[in-house]
């Protein structure tokens, strides 16, 4: 049962464009690409894709050693993004550390790099005498959530949803449900992932990684395009501050958007490939959760990672439920696939679009593929009043999720 309406009052980003939500928005608005050629990966035998979106401007030493010693890069990104969200949300120290504040932060895999470093050393002589006491804290499934809570003195719930590429969306959805049901007043929600070549290899081995643009990285990924050839892996973190509408109003917080619907469903048809029928079902449940009809939606931010099958399935699902009237774009062409962070980073972009009345087009969509026709692709930046946004995220493992955002308008009492 929903007791509270839930709003977003803070955002923080670490993205391939750099540090900060405004840097993210500037990159997206400017039609820039955060994808780079990675010469260091060319020495990896069997790897065909050598492009990624890396984080280059985070200085870990900003975080005191006492906290940093248990953090891998994903936790460092999460702490920095969370600090930004708290700052924008104008959250007091008392509110941050009180039981009203919880966190839900997940990742695809805790820290592959940390595990690689440990086992590289361990296998040299099967000796554990060099193992540091803080190793485990970097590789726990809830490492990033735990590190954020430790560093920022969180005393409410610490949750770590893990659903690969649906993680960020699920974390926000879980926070939404928790606040809606009255279990927490505020939640810091999002996803974070740190780069490792294994991410690229995971998709490459399935023939789902982009391999033809290693020397023109800014031209890939290409969501919905006829020349798309797969995912480009990126790293980063997106964090959103959620709270009840009553809480936000009572402390005079600036309300960025309202969350009005959430759905997450399993797709057991295939562990790797999303099925259009399952996507329709997830988006439909999200609409029903919000009490809205498909025609009410102004814009859909697609998952669309530029895989042949995934983009076509999502297009088919959107065509079935929305026809060709609702504007659709994907931000993967700019950012690549930021994995667990993607849902949260792209929700932030949706908020930016709603507040700017401006739609960001799909980058690298030069020729719509025949399998992706029949929906309204945003091909160039366009001014448009956007009040309701549907955001999709789908994950390996068959985990779909959709979130509905609404721009708050004046209600009868004059409140926003």
């Amino acid at each position: 049962m929903q007791i509270n309406r839930v709003v977003i009052t803070g955002m923080g980003a670490i993205s391939p464009f750099g540090r900060g939500a405004n840097v993210l928005f500037a990159g997206l608005s400017g039609g820039k690409s955060g994808i780079r050629f990675l010469p260091e990966t060319t020495a990896i035998r069997g790897l065909r894709s050598h492009v990624a979106g890396r984080i280059i401007d985070c200085d870990p030493t900003e975080i005191p050693r006492k906290y940093r010693r248990s953090m891998s890069a994903g936790s460092i990104y999460a702490v920095m993004a969370t600090q930004e969200a708290l700052s924008q949300g104008n959250v007091s120290d008392e509110l941050r550390t009180g039981k009203d504040m919880g966190v839900a932060i997940g990742s695809t895999v805790g820290s592959i790099g940390t595990l690689e470093a440990f086992f590289r050393d361990y296998f040299s002589d099967f000796c554990l005498e060099r193992m540091r006491s803080t190793l485990f804290f970097k590789i726990m499934n809830h490492s990033h959530a735990a590190n954020v809570s430790q560093m920022l003195g969180i005393t409410g719930r610490t949750l770590a949803p893990a659903a690969a590429c649906s993680t960020g969306c699920q974390a926000v959805g879980i926070g939404y449900e928790m606040i809606a049901s009255g279990k927490q007043r505020l939640m810091l929600c999002g996803g974070t992932d740190e780069f490792h070549p294994l991410f690229i290899a995971t998709f490459d081995v399935m023939n789902a990684a982009s391999i033809h643009f290693n020397h023109t990285p800014e031209r890939t990924p290409r969501p919905f395009d006829r020349d798309r050839d797969g995912i480009v892996c990126s790293e980063g973190c997106g964090m959103l501050l959620l709270e009840s509408l009553e809480s936000a109003r009572s402390r005079g917080a600036v309300i960025l958007a309202e969350i009005v619907g959430f759905a997450t469903q399993s797709d057991p048809s295939n562990i790797a490939n999303p099925d259009a029928g399952s996507i329709v079902s997830c988006m439909r449940e999200c609409l029903e959760n919000a009490g809205l009809k498909p025609e009410a939606i102004d814009y859909i931010n697609a998952h669309a990672t530029a895989t042949i099958e995934g983009d076509a399935s999502e297009c088919e699902a959107i065509r079935i439920l929305f026809g060709d009237t609702v504007a659709v774009s994907s931000l993967k062409g700019h950012l690549g696939h930021t994995m667990a962070a993607s849902g949260a980073l792209e929700l932030m972009a949706c908020i930016f679009m709603m507040r700017q009345n401006r739609m960001i087009p799909t980058l690298n969509l030069d020729h719509v593929d025949a399998g992706c026709e029949g929906i309204f692709h945003v091909r160039r930046a366009a001014e448009k009043s956007i009040r309701l946004v549907l955001k999709n995220s789908f994950a390996l493992g068959g985990v779909n999720s959709s979130i509905l955002l609404r721009r708050l308008i004046h209600d009868r009492s004059g409140n926003r």
Binding site: R65, E129, R130, M131, T134
Partner: protein, 87 residues
């Protein structure tokens, strides 16, 4: 290795591991209050010293009574002398 060289090696190893300023590493510095180390750091300190000096000290009872950097210097110097005598 002379005693001053041992002290220098201890300080360099701990400085690198725990990001300590060498100027703060005076013998009377308390590990907890002055150098702000904690129980997890002490576990890692043993590992760092074992690697730096090639001995095993994890099971030594004396480690539990170490409070200052000077205690560490004295302990490691004694340990190194013991090893030399037993050769």
């Amino acid at each position: 290795m002379t005693d001053p060289e041992i002290v220098e090696k201890i300080n360099a190893s701990l400085s690198e591991e725990f990001e300590l300023e060498l100027t703060s590493m005076v013998p009377e510095a308390s590990l907890f209050d002055d150098l702000e180390l904690d129980s997890l750091d002490l576990v890692d300190m043993v590992i760092v010293l074992e690697q730096a000096f090639g001995f095993k000290i994890r099971e030594e009872e004396e480690i539990r009574s170490i409070r200052t950097l000077g205690d560490i210097h004295a302990f490691v110097i004694r340990k190194k002398h013991q090893i030399r005598q037993n050769l």
